[in-house]
Subunit: 228 residues, 2 copies
Amino acid sequence: MEDSRLASVAAAIAEPARARMLCSLLDGKARTATELAIVGEVSASTASAHLARLKTEQLVSMLTQGRHRYYRLHNHDVASALEALLLISNTPKAPFNPNTPHYLQAARTCYDHMAGSVAVQLHDRLFAMGWLQADAGDASQYVLSEQGQQALSKLGMDLPELAKKRRRFACACLDWSERSPHLGGALGAALLILAKKRGWAEQDLDSRRLQISRAGQNAMKDIFGITI
Amino acid sequence: MEDSRLASVAAAIAEPARARMLCSLLDGKARTATELAIVGEVSASTASAHLARLKTEQLVSMLTQGRHRYYRLHNHDVASALEALLLISNTPKAPFNPNTPHYLQAARTCYDHMAGSVAVQLHDRLFAMGWLQADAGDASQYVLSEQGQQALSKLGMDLPELAKKRRRFACACLDWSERSPHLGGALGAALLILAKKRGWAEQDLDSRRLQISRAGQNAMKDIFGITI
DNA sequence: TTCATATTTCGCTCCGGAGCGAAGTAAGGC
DNA sequence: GCCTTACTTCGCTCCGGAGCGAAATATGAA
């Protein structure tokens, strides 16, 4: 029984146009049906059918706003599953594939937080510096130390606001290019917002690429001791 | 580019017969083409074609032994991706689905280690008892404390042998029914072997179900303080 | 060697679903 | 009200690939 559901979910991802749509949504943004038709390289009517299917399979959810219909990934689990599939897709027949653009590996977005080697380094440094630690009660969760709370507040993060959110506070999120975890959850998302606000990083509009500015490179070095 | 690979991998999983085969291999065992034809509910010739496709997509690998050809999941990443897909497949339209058999949630195998609520409780107790702790250098890894090493050695685990293995020593593995981590890696696998050797658990031949014996229930209670 | 079993290859049928454009519906802007 | 834009529904074509059985190939057993 469960395997037939597995098959239908996989089939929903399996169509190239739908795969392109889903990949583009991995950055966490919501897109209109027309935008997704362009990304999927199909006509509007075809895209409409594809999106209907993705919706019934609960891979995306829809939000109507005026005459636009915005689609986004249904939840984090969907994003995780897509990342897991991308991980096993990216070791193809060609045993050595250096085509993957370099900047993508260095810094990109994963759903709504930072990913790539910079994000993995950052994740590890946050632990090494003692800002972050594993939750004693729930090992899959992270919590901020007293020191980490003070430091992030000073950088301009609104921690009380963050604590109010219903979503998971902080957790490991496997990075498919680095095969190591980076920081996910509300804290990971807040960190990306902070980085953009302070001008450390700029998000490309049409890809998952994340541009690290000179100020960002300096900040990484001065605050976290990471050289990019 | 990467999305077309994603689509072809998803398509390989998407066919119901192939999905059944892959699900059956999730327990980590290798199966012959004939066995998988039965699991997939297709003829031998059809199964052969399916298996060829799964192999070129690197989802399974093959091992020839006499006139048998054994197939198994290609690696742990494939198992993880399948589990991630199962996770999002198991929250279907029917919002409340109590059909899932109870014993499957209580204890089952995930690739080569224990999963289900017992495994999740065990994972958490190992931390609470101080046997296991997050690796200081690599937060995604776990290490045994001095106390944990002594206790597991006394239970009959060959830790020096375990340390020799090239595979990841111990790490969190997300449990799709519990949505919490259980123990994966070499230590997780060794724990399952230990449990079977000591007669605590018995693995079903045809499913991922794990039978916990009375001795196993006593051991869980006495050693880890877990009531099943 | 000869037979039985395991697996693949070949030749064929058939169906789901992906594609498009045209027409229909819905929601601003004027 | 009318026009434009956004999106869906309808009607149709067409192709990939899943299905099977028969024959071919390979391996072990007698």
